[in-house]
Subunit: 524 residues, 2 copies
């Protein structure tokens, strides 16, 4: 990031990310008209919209266009300085080969340990810490969802008021469980995802399951003996709707309520305790990105990621298609060659998965990304990776895996997931996330019932309009009000507050999205 | 079906489906113990559970085991008469080749037209007829689901009481719309599914959409001009959450409420009118099947299917993996060689889809099917196909297609879908289904918010225990109380009643499952 992007007390008109870049991004609301002098000697030759790129020098057809000191494309025609450089003027570079990426070549800067930061969390017997105290009801199959919804409504109305220390009751519903090829090679991904979500720290190891009875995803397959640590029992509690003891619909509801009550009693006995910041497991994600994502929100979140790592916490970043074009940046930052090899393995697997569907990583970008100034997936990826901060990558998770199963309880982790907001969030929940940071440029009302989501707006305009949906305004960086470092610290402090119980806007309105499983296997 | 399966006033102990079969299915609750004389000269040599098969003759290793006059497997060892024939004793036959199936070789029996049957429905301008009067809110992307849920709750509380002729307000939510490869070769399937569901007859051509703004599935791609017939406008009404006019979360909610109110006013002016039974578009499905499915419920539903066809209605049956082993039965019954070729095309496409995921049609059967006496997918398929009745197959739909777009407004249709209950139901909704029949042996509380679902139990035991979830007890056939024909007429009459507004048990309890899209394309 160039020295220009420091808190100046006044907004810049255009921001460049690196001194060697030959484009900069227009900052001003509404863009800037032709004739505007955006820097010494650089006048716009046409209107350039906010968050879009202007050429800083004359470019010849075929010249590399550079942002973040990376080639994001090649000029499809001559482009004079001051012209709007959008996706129609750029040829996308080929995907980076994965065979010869540098493995663990960069010694990440030694980060100073950060001591003394704490939050108020719920300690679990397995060593994890919850930021919320939630009764989760795991379901094996979509068949039971209508019944579980009915039961959850009754639990909230009739039982929850008696258990004031419990924050919420959440049905873990999904469309998996039957009508799927459960023996297919990639079926373990959705199965372990459902399993590991039920183990999320926010549910206090209180696993209860509603099963139909005849489905493919039997409770014994979902939660085999020994796969979970339970608080008070040898086995998870399971209600089978097809159990012969159930006569009449209400008997099913009573079974679920009666089991829920026992779990609520135990959950209600839990209290928040002072826990070190190292107990945080933070999932980073961006969605509805624009060109500001890589200038304001993601760098600030990246700074906060470094603070978390310094405090001994676990930080995950994800989104295969949004790191693919910076694969070399990830593999070189890996702590060991083994970690680098695992990154390559995950990204190569995803390349193959996309190719089997006759697409590639360029399928990622959206109309909104392009309107927001992101010309292609290369430019988008550079802005996305920034949110991982600068520390070494110490571990890699395959989709649906649980961090603690791999002994990962500290440092920066690459959790390999699709970039879909809902699939990524679902897989980060399965990994054991207890706090979620979500940056957005175009704006999305994203939220999860299972875990608090702090939403960071990349632009002040969005933060103003969505003042009761966005938790943080990173546009203040572009406005010259704050440095990246200042906002990074602000986000870090907010994370500790939210982890301690402060509600996010998504929680205030109860705006929650569906769990969305990643199932690369066929349905039947 | 053998002559034994007629209303006899008393239950049979074992039922055979065809005189040439060498196994029969035990009918009695709880099964029958060793020593029971189930037919003249046939004594059980071991306990055989209810709905499981008993060998009627001595079988040698390698002999064909026949049920429905079809080879459902080959004996893996010698099997004496009276022994329990379960999946462990059977080798599954290879899949039927699709290259040399008979094309339109059977002239289906000319069915006598059935005149004078009517129901009270809601006529639509496009010629379709609704069985319910529902405000549906289409969403382009999962991002908006939390907001739409919030709005629907407000609409139900604040607006719906003023519009007593409107039955319900339903959010058409899904996990598609962004983070998906929207240009992939098979992406049209999920896209047209969402589009065509919004055109379902139960929604009165009143399409309103909530869009985020930056998503891949833009409203203009979901509902291109001319793709839908609207009642009072040139274009569908769309609320864009990212629209700059929205300042604060409540302004989004107000936009949705205000648009919903206009649609509710028009929907509220609709009245039920007498419509011929030919306006019914009935989707047939089975789920949680057992060996009784093919003896009781599915044959009765098949008889009702013939009544519907005779009355000029449209009947769909589906579930690729559950007809695959009877492909020849379908192609031979096709009305024309073109229809037969379309069936082959759909089943071959599905073979390829499964193979790409390293599985085949045998991935279909569930633990519950096997417990319920269905040894493999061949046996399951024979029982599944029965629900299509005996009429000629006059048309074929690809997944997500709308019947009326292909000029299909009458007769028996093969709607090619996966067998997953939720995906099949979702695709039948997209096809234009206004009434759903669902048979189940193991029991499932399946329901759809978009369309009434009549649930038929295959066994009296299930119907007794689930007395307030099952709408019809087809077990009375096995009990000797009713013939297939009598129950077929009962189901036909019930369909007319439910189509006229009589509530199903799923509607009574509001037990509704999620829309589940079939997306064979990658996520990104």
């Amino acid at each position: 990031m160039s020295a220009e992007n420091k808190a100046s007390g006044q907004a810049q008109l255009a921001i460049m990310m690196h001194p060697d870049d030959n484009v900069a991004v227009i900052v001003s609301d509404g863009g800037l008209p032709a004739g505007t002098l955006v820097r010494d000697g650089l006048k716009l030759v046409e209107h350039v919209p906010q968050s879009h790129k202007v050429a800083l020098v004359d470019l010849k057809k075929g010249d590399a266009v550079r942002r973040y000191n990376v080639t994001i494309g090649y000029a499809l025609e001559d482009i004079v300085a001051g012209r709007w450089v959008n996706e129609t003027l750029l040829a996308m570079p080929d995907a980076l080969g994965l065979d010869d990426v540098p493995l663990a070549t960069i010694k990440a800067p030694k980060l100073e340990p950060l001591e003394g930061y704490t939050f108020q969390g719920y300690r679990n017997a397995d060593g994890s810490v919850g930021t919320r105290n939630i009764l989760a009801i795991t379901s094996t199959v979509q068949c039971v969802s209508g019944v579980v919804d009915f039961a959850v409504k009754r639990i909230k109305e009739e039982l929850l008021p008696r258990f004031p220390n419990v924050d919420d009751v959440v049905a873990l519903e999904h469309t998996y469980g039957c009508g799927v090829a459960i023996e297919a090679p990639s079926a373990p991904i959705p199965i372990r995802t459902v399993r590991n979500i039920s183990r999320n720290p926010n549910f206090g190891n209180e696993v209860m399951v509603v099963s139909l009875g005849c489905e493919k995803l039997q409770p014994s397959r979902l939660l085999p003996a020994g796969s979970i640590m339970l608080k008070n029992e040898a086995e998870p509690d399971v209600v089978f709707l097809q159990d012969e003891k159930h006569v009449g619909f209400m008997s099913m509801i009573e079974s679920i309520l009666s089991m829920a009550e026992k779990h609520l009693e135990r959950l209600n006995a839990r209290r928040r305790e002072t826990c070190p910041a190292s107990a945080l497991v933070v999932g980073m994600q961006c969605g509805g990105s624009d060109a500001f994502s890589g200038i304001t929100a993601n760098p600030a979140v990246g700074y906060a990621a470094d603070l978390l790592v310094r405090a001994g916490a676990t930080v995950m970043f994800s989104e295969n298609t949004e790191v693919r074009d910076g694969a070399d940046q990830l593999t070189s930052r890996a702590a060991t060659p083994e970690v680098a090899a695992a990154i390559v393995r995950e990204l190569a697997w995803y390349d193959d998965y996309l190719e089997a569907g006759s697409v590639d990583r360029s399928a990622n970008t959206t109309p909104g990304n392009k309107k927001g100034g992101l010309s292609n997936i290369v430019e988008k990826a550079m802005g996305s990776i920034v949110k991982s901060g600068s520390s070494a990558i110490v571990g890699v998770l395959s989709p649906g895996e649980y961090l603690r199963d791999k002994g990962l309880t500290q440092g920066l982790i690459y959790a390999a997931t699709p970039a879909s907001d809902f699939i990524c969030g679902t897989l980060q929940l399965a990994a054991g996330m207890n706090l979620h940071i979500f940056t957005t440029g175009r704006g999305t009302p994203y939220g999860l019932a299972e875990c608090p989501v702090i939403k960071v707006a990349t632009r002040s305009d969005l933060a103003r309009r969505w003042h009761d949906l966005m938790d943080v305004n990173a546009g203040r960086i572009a406005d010259g009000e704050l440095t990246i470092e200042q906002l990074g610290w602000e986000i870090f402090q907010l994370m500790l507050d939210v982890a301690s119980g402060r509600k996010t806007w998504a929680e205030h309105w109860k705006l929650y999205n569906a769990l969305t499983l990643f199932n690369p296997a066929p349905v039947t």
